[in-house]
């Protein structure tokens, strides 16, 4: 499974997307709903929705976590839940490994 380093670099620069991924990794393999993610990452639900699935010009199709394949949506009884994908899990592992490196060199 090839992981584009530009995606990791881009997520590393985006504090909200990074916090969402780290939280979903913490509860993996469980899924959770939007309001809960927003509460934990201490952000507005509309911003979190933007980071997850895109919203207008912010977090367009190229950069939302769902369109990048890092987070998957599970629909159940009309509710939407979000869960880290296998691919997203690998990205989180790398983000953690590169934490010091990115802080030092980028």
């Amino acid at each position: 499974m090839f992981i584009d380093p530009f995606i990791i670099r881009s997520i590393n620069r985006s504090e909200l997307r990074k916090r969402i991924l780290l939280y979903l990794n913490e509860i993996y393999p469980n899924a959770t709903y939007l309001a809960e993610i927003a509460r934990v990452v201490k952000s507005d639900p509309s911003n979190v929705k933007g980071a997850l699935v895109g919203l207008g010009n912010r977090y367009n199709g190229y950069s939302s976590l769902v369109s990048l394949g890092l987070v998957e949506i599970i629909e159940d009884s009309g509710f939407k839940y979000y869960r880290l994908s296998e691919y997203g899990k690998k990205v989180v592992e790398l983000l953690r490994s590169y934490h010091t490196y990115y802080n030092k060199f980028m």
Partner: protein, 319 residues
């Protein structure tokens, strides 16, 4: 272990083959072959092909010449008749690993960016600036295969002392885990970025018997003696192989082993195709010859026993 050795050799040979195809694709894409239907002056060809990075274009033309795709006279070039057969041996296909292919595709694509500018941000071949990309490369299954071979050949276990020259970011954990608190693994690499990623992993794993040093392997002067010295995919970045081999032999204990893993150029026809892409890394020189290593040992007067495993591994035992 034999199947791992075969796996390593077959995949390295396939990298050469795939590089060959991509090299030809570049010639088609940039109109190189069309420009060489008649004999042309070298500088006219360089001017006629519309790419900005002329040194890279020159490197491409030189590679074509080495591979027999074009003929080079004194300042003149002309295309040759050329055919190439990509060999897929059905009995060997089970050894093919898929994960290096997308990563090499990224490298092949980088040539397009490099033709625009050698400093293009989409070129990810710098050891320090692009240590994350190198880390992904070093994490490929192909690299795990040779790490397992090294551990098996060296019979690496606790209480041993291992020196890994050009250790990268993965081996300190993946080889270091076979040692223990009574052993020692010392990894040396000249890239601060790669060392930084490796240190983070070592810290996470809690391997306090692993030490990492940011040093150029040509400059090492270790005082400790080691049971095993590892050199894997490093000599292609070294312009003085003899010095590195001499340093490695000097620090080996008697009966210690120097394990070298490289795609030795005598064993891989058309390796120049792969080398063209690797030259996107500034430090790349060329893949080493097995004979240069043996020659270095002879020149330095060591008593040794050498064993060759497959096409890419040399084991040198210091007697």
């Amino acid at each position: 272990m034999n199947s791992s050795i075969k796996k390593l050799d077959i995949n390295l040979a396939m990298i050469v083959q795939l590089s060959m195809l991509h090299l030809i694709q570049i010639g088609l894409k940039y109109g190189v072959f069309r420009e060489l239907t008649t004999k042309r002056h070298y500088s006219d060809v360089l001017t006629a092909i519309p790419v900005r990075n002329k040194p890279l274009l020159k490197s491409l033309l030189d590679t074509y010449s080495k591979l027999g795709i074009l003929e080079k006279g004194v300042n003149e070039l002309v295309g040759s008749d050329f055919s190439y057969i990509l060999a897929l041996n059905s009995a060997d296909n089970k050894y093919l690993l898929p994960d290096w292919v997308p990563l090499f595709e990224e490298i092949y694509k980088m040539v397009d960016y490099a033709f625009i500018s050698p400093q293009h941000p989409k070129i990810l071949m710098d050891f320090d600036k692009d240590a994350d990309f190198w880390d992904m490369r070093l994490a490929l299954e192909l690299n795990n295969v040779y790490r397992r071979i090294i551990v098996s050949i060296g019979e690496i276990k606790d209480e041993m002392r291992v020196l890994d020259l050009g250790c990268g970011s993965i081996s300190p954990v993946e080889i270091g885990k076979f040692l223990g608190p009574n052993g020692e693994y010392v990894g040396v690499d000249f890239s601060p970025g790669i060392i930084s990623i490796a240190k983070q992993r070592i810290q996470n794993s809690g391997f306090d018997w692993v030490t990492l040093k940011e040093v150029d392997i040509k400059a090492i002067r270790p005082k400790t003696r080691y049971d095993i010295v590892i050199i894997s995919f490093v000599l292609e970045y070294v312009d003085n192989i003899q010095k590195v081999v001499k340093n490695a032999m000097e620090v080996l204990e008697e009966k210690g082993k120097l394990i070298i893993v490289e795609p030795f150029r005598e064993n891989y026809p058309n390796i120049e195709a792969w080398e063209f892409f690797e030259r996107l890394t500034r430090e790349f020189v060329e893949f080493p010859k097995k004979s240069s290593i043996i020659e270095s040992l002879e020149n330095d007067g060591y008593t040794y026993r050498v064993q060759e495993l497959g096409k890419s591994i040399l084991i040198i035992e210091k007697l």
